[in-house]
Amino acid sequence: MAQPLVKKDDDRDDEVDYSPFLGIEKGAVLQEARVFNDPQLDARRCSQVITKLLYLLNQGEIFTKTEATEVFFSVTKLFQSKDIGLRRMVYLIIKELSPSSDEVIIVTSSLMKDMNSRTDMYRANAIRVLCRIIDGTLLTQIERYLKQAIVDKNPVVASAALVSGIHLLQTTPEIVKRWSNEVQEAVQSRAALVQFHALALLHQIRQNDRLAVSKLVISLTKGTVRSPLAQCLLIRYTSEVIRESGVNTQTGDRPFYDYLEGCLRHKAEMVIFEAARAITELSNVTTRELTPAITVLQLFLSSSKPVLRFAAVRTLNKVAMTHPMAVTNCNIDMESLISDQNRSIATLAITTLLKTGNESSVDRLMKQITNFMSDIADEFKIVVVEAIRSLCLKFPLKYRSLMNFLSNILREEGGFEYKKAIVDSIVILIRDIPDAKENGLLHLCEFIEDCEFTYLSTQILHFIGNEGPKTSDPSKYIRYIYNRVILENATVRASAVSTLAKFGAMVDSLKPRIFVLLRRCLFDTDDEVRDRATLYLNTLGDGSVSETDKDVKEFLFGSLDIPLTNFEISLKNYIQNPAEEPFNINSVPREVKSQALTEKKAPGKKPTGLGAPPPPPTSAVDAYERLLSSIPEFASFGKLFKSSAPVELTEAETEYSVNVVKHIFDRHVLFQYNCTNTIPEQLLENVTVIVDASEAEEFSEVGTKLLKSLPYDTPAQTFVAFEKPEGVPTVGKFSNVLRFTVKEVDTSTGEADDDGVEDEYQLEDFEVVAADYILKVGVSNFKNAWESMGPDSERIDEYGLGPRDSLVEAVNTVINLLGMQPCEGTEVVPNNSRSHTCLLSGVYTGNVKVLVRLSFGIDGSKEVAMKLAVRSEDENVSDAIHEIVASG
């Protein structure tokens, strides 16, 4: 027992003399600082006190204004001492104290004296201190000395002046710009770092003068740049010039590319890497240009230095996003990095491999990753999970092994964010790969059997409720769901009750069993759970109130389509002004909704997992469908086939912003104009769009729905409907004019004038095109789907697409023209390939499945030829696709 006690004392003894600053206190040190005022200065002691002050500042201690001022004033007395070491500390503490402008005056003369001293160290440091603390007026006084210092023969002095110039350029650019002659001279300096600092300053002085920057780059890339740092700078400026000089010239050679490529053979790794990175970041970089850069990065991958490996793998990872084929050569080196000590490197290697891997390597890769996953932190795991998700979407055929992998890691230890990433990924795979649905749902069911996160459990239960009943054997999910009712907390129980009800509503054969289970829930200890059970028992027809089947489903599956904020405001109003009648949800304004819709359709959207509404096209269609069915005039149009993405009809930042969504029905098209009024002083009323369909002969206008009022910044819609021949992809061009009554609004009171003026606003034209009649619907196994269609409906023809910029452009043009879903990642064209096959699938108006196989070839003169093979359930549709391409 005694032993550890003694040991402890030892430890404490160690700690006592551990730090020379132990027990240091601001008040005491400030007292000590009085030695600065002694007539006989003890330089050594003063240095020590300054060190203590700096220590305090460094530890984050804050000096009050008076304390700082006091210290500053006494420090200025130390300029009397001739001790070099002390002077150096004085410089440091002045910089740390950053005195105010009225205090600065006290030291400027001393510092200016040092600036002209014969000791180089004084000169260099005085310049740095002075430039840190002075303002513009003082700067003009010392400008002359600074200009001299820039061309000083001592490199330390020159660098000090140049670096100070870089800082001063931010605050007083007009003065620093006058120094460019001296800076220019310093660029030619023989001292490596002076050249670096001079180059940085010169570039900043000239950065707005493209021609000057370009000249600078031209002269320096030919000459000699000494330090690696300066070389790196020059590479950055060179890529800047390349960026601005635009696309390749006639010969296809990029200016300065040779210089960058030459830097790949520099002796400093820093420069080699900077050049390699610059090449990979060139816009529209070709494979030929990339190759040498990839080669040096590949060498770095097997370096003994972690920093080099990291830098290389991180750059290759970025390249893999745009040019996966270029990186495949490094795959073997990359695979050996999976076992790298540094987990950041390993994770980057894995995600790169996942991006570049092909279908055949997936299984092998998954095996390696499994070992890897157990010993990395959650944040890395999330990155890997996301990479696996995109891999799975790229190779849907491999869903089985990828899904298994996800479910395995789902069972292992992990934090909430990690688990959520996995669950989100499984949900997205279930939605996008129909074959994976049952498998994935079962994995989720197993997960909630032992899930510690209430949020995830409820989200999964909700998802099972929507998807489970549509599977081949819904009954197998019931056990998992009811287990939740028995085992979990109230939130999860309530959620499970709702899920049970959804199964009851959708699957008649299960109804009696669901009733039994729900009745048991009536004895739950939690109010919400009991209430839900009672409610569902009644709505499903067990009790006296029986609802129609449609209403029940609407109630269970319909989502709350009013904005929550509006709902909240309405409810609060209702509570404040209690009325006789019950609250009516229909009284809640829905105005924000269309805005939400357009926001959701914003480009670059990431796939969202649980919690978010299902992804487009379904979600958008659902939402639109609900919106449209709420308008009685259009209810007779039947089922909505497709809604296009919004097409902007106005320039950005005009008075009124309008976009149109084209809704296609069997015999009608309906244009939804989303209008926003961006003028606070105006209220628009009776807004409608006058459509001229003279260039769309087969369409005839059947009705409009005007918009009563359009206040500032509140998007709303007006509609125009047209009739068209049934089942035919009728195309045409429409020109539009926005017509409305304008009323002035007093912005202070928000009240509008009574009198309005009629006005019109010209909108841009838009077209209904063939692609509007084709739904993007993917198939998971194109080959099987293709073969099952049979050759009878196949139509093959060849087309010349004329000269194109690249194969990529030609492929994208045709995909956009047809508006179909590219399958199996075939929309990505490997760099510089001469031919490419692209697989598309879709559903044509009238619910006819269509598959398209496109073979492209490009010749030396950039002429693109295309072979188009179409199979569909209806040969007329196959012909129609050919017509679209022929007329496009």
Partner: protein, 183 residues
């Protein structure tokens, strides 16, 4: 905005940290406004320290990413050296700065690179930081030159280095450096 972008074009260091084996500050220097308050700085230091604590950065400098910053680091005895830059920065430049800092400190502490020695010579360490970076811009990356600059200033301080001339100091510095590399 334009000035900001060009500032990016020049290699920029966001901070240099020297922490002890418990993650406490020995000396730190911030050059960027990313961490405006002392508590933000402390929080950053804590997360950097915890994240790198278990790694082995004793032979070669290691590297990691945190809050879209790149951090290169190296440990010796109970001292942890860190250099932070933005995620667009050339990793090798950061590593060069780290190496320069590390070499200079090794020379200045005469190979006794440990916390106590560092605190006892805190003035040298602070001067050393001052000579490596000025407001985020790299001043010098050669450890022996940095140490040489700092050491000349201690001339009158009665330190053993004081009797040496600059060239002698540099020679000793180089010798120390080679020794530390061979070790």
């Amino acid at each position: 905005m334009a000035t900001f972008l060009s500032q990016e074009a020049c290699p920029t260091i966001k901070n240099i940290l020297l922490l002890d084996s418990e993650g406490k500050r020995v000396a730190v220097k911030y050059y960027s406004d990313d961490w405006p308050t002392n508590s933000a700085k402390l929080a950053f230091e804590k997360s950097v320290f915890t994240k790198t604590q278990k790694t082995n950065a004793r032979n070669e400098a290691e590297i990691t990413m945190l809050e879209s910053n790149i951090i290169v680091y190296k440990f010796v005895q109970d001292l942890h050296f860190f250099v932070t830059g933005g995620d667009d920065e050339n990793e090798l430049i950061l590593a060069t700065v780290l190496q320069g800092f590390f070499d200079a400190v090794t020379l200045l502490l005469r190979n006794n690179v440990e916390q106590r020695e560092a605190l006892e010579n805190l003035d040298l360490i602070l001067l050393c930081l001052d000579e490596i970076i000025d407001g985020g811009i790299v001043l010098e990356t050669d450890g022996s030159i940095i140490a040489g600059k700092v050491a000349t200033h201690s001339m009158d301080d009665g330190a053993p280095l004081s009797e040496q001339t600059i060239s002698q100091a540099l020679a000793t510095a180089r010798e120390h450096l080679t020794r530390s590399l061979l070790r």
